[in-house]
Amino acid sequence: MTEVDTAQDEQSPYARVGGGAAVRVVVDQFYERVLGDPTLAPYFAESDLANLKRHQVQLISHLLGGPVTYEGRELRDAHAGLAITPEAYARVVEHLVGVLVEAGVPDDILASLGGTLEAAQPDIVSQQS
């Protein structure tokens, strides 16, 4: 037990979840769920999905300490004008939890992604709603 924990601590979160391939699988599943949700699909009506997924994989890989650069827009710019409600945001978090749970992502990585998400929430959710 202790030995396993120590070994894990020495790896980056990116390596521990299984690297780029694992992140791509999770991102694919995530968008499958989000686009299959009638309350969320309209937000993506105008999106270039392939590009969106590519940027999402880069962003998550980067956050997990992977050797990847995020080439997308600032989150505030990317979500500007979409009028994302707090309810829609909560729904997306639910889908995200669903795919991360299925992927078996460890608690400490969840909490660290959660920290980033919390910081980004004001940039994503529309203030006027």
């Binding site: 639910e94 749970v101 608690d107």
Partner: protein
């Protein structure tokens, strides 16, 4: 509020088994990452605790009046985890998201309202319990280890000195957190009646796979500072000081019973009166009878006798067998009150033996190890 709907919906969710706490904690840590640090590093033992208890309590909100005092106490007890009201909101949000996730199409607006209302009632009661106790008691007591004595292969005896007065009744338990295993709390019973200097004796036995008990026995040192919770438990406290007592201890289950004996002794020294007390201490091997010296010293009292039982050593010159068998074989327990403390297996074996020997059920006291309940436990439990 529709109590039947709450119960039915919880039953549906509960069928998903381990997936429920997994989703719940993942949602909680993703949406409120600051909460992660309040839980143990390893979540394996924690997994089913919080969400299962919550689902059960909230869905039984129609029996609120019977559990309200317990909830207040639970809220008070959670002060040692440094829980603040905001975190009740975080937990409530993740509970509702979890229900919604597993109920899918069956999650309706009415159900959402009912669950939110019921959770609100429970959370309010816990927070109020915490606020009430905060007026009179600290969230936890820091205590310095002033003596650490390894008695056997797997048993150590510690003397702890709380920085502030920690009032308790012999037979109760306090939860202990040691610096070697942060955020993992285990219940131990003070093995002494309250002393002038406030020190508390604690008996710790390594249990299989027990990361806390083994850290305590092997690593806890003089000078270390541990945290103690408020005392809990009524099963092994003395409510009638005139009743004769049959005390049956397995391993470090001796601790609360030794405290009770000391309490009787204080009373006897002060008044010259007191009940007859017989204590049986059982162990697998003779060297596990780790407190013989203190027991033999007490056995000079005219009202006290101490007997041992060894189950796994066929060469033992004293009484052989389980401690329950040996106690029953001695006989003459009419009118006695029995108190039993030890591992779960020991209690499950001993209580029926005493009952079969004619001691009425209401006169057999032991800590209830019932599944899922919030109960103080002795150090003999497996602590994952």
């Amino acid at each position: 509020m529709d109590p039947a709907a709450l119960k039915e919906s919880w039953a549906i969710v509960a069928k998903h088994g381990d997936d429920v706490p997994l989703f719940f904690y993942s949602h909680l840590f993703l949406s409120h990452p600051e909460v992660r640090s309040m839980f143990p590093v390893s979540m394996s033992a924690q997994r089913d605790k919080l969400v299962t208890a919550l689902g059960t309590v909230v869905s039984n909100v129609d029996q609120f009046d019977t559990v309200a005092p317990l909830l207040g106490q639970l809220g008070s007890d959670h002060r040692r985890f440094r829980v603040d009201p905001d975190q009740y909101n975080a937990v409530g949000g993740s509970l509702l998201a979890t229900l919604k996730h597993f109920l899918a199409d069956q999650w309706t607006d009415e159900l959402a309202t009912d669950w939110a209302t019921a959770y609100g009632v429970i959370a309010k009661t816990m927070v109020q319990g915490a606020e009430e106790s905060a007026k009179t008691t600290p969230s936890w007591w820091n205590a310095e280890v002033v003596s650490a004595e390894r008695r056997t292969l797997d048993v150590a005896v510690f003397q702890l000195r709380p920085e502030q007065h920690l009032p308790y009744t012999p037979g109760q338990s306090v939860a202990v957190e040691v610096p070697q295993r942060p955020r993992l709390w285990r219940y131990y019973s003070p093995a002494n009646a309250p002393r002038e200097d406030g020190t508390i004796e604690v008996h710790v036995q390594i249990v299989d796979g027990g990361q806390v008990s083994s850290a305590m026995v092997k690593e806890l040192q003089v000078g270390d500072v541990v945290r103690l919770s408020a005392p809990v438990g009524t099963a092994l406290t003395l409510d009638d000081p005139t009743r004769n007592l049959l005390l049956v201890a397995g391993g470090t289950g001796l601790a609360p019973l030794k405290a009770v004996v000391e309490q009787v002794d204080r009373h006897w020294l002060a008044t010259g009166r007191g009940p007859q007390v017989h204590l049986f201490h059982g162990a697998r091997m003779p060297w596990n009878l780790y407190d013989e010296q203190a027991m033999h010293a007490l056995a000079e009292r005219p009202w006290f006798s101490y007997d041992t039982a060894v189950s796994d050593d066929s060469t033992y010159p004293g009484r052989r067998g389980t401690v329950g068998e040996v106690a029953v074989a001695r006989g003459g327990w009419r009118g006695y009150r029995a108190m039993v403390c030890g591992s779960r297996a020991m209690i499950e074996a001993t209580v029926p033996q005493l009952a079969a020997a004619g001691i009425p059920h209401e006169d057999i006291r032991y800590e209830d190890f019932g599944e899922g309940g919030y109960r103080p436990r002795t150090d003999t439990q497996k602590d994952g």
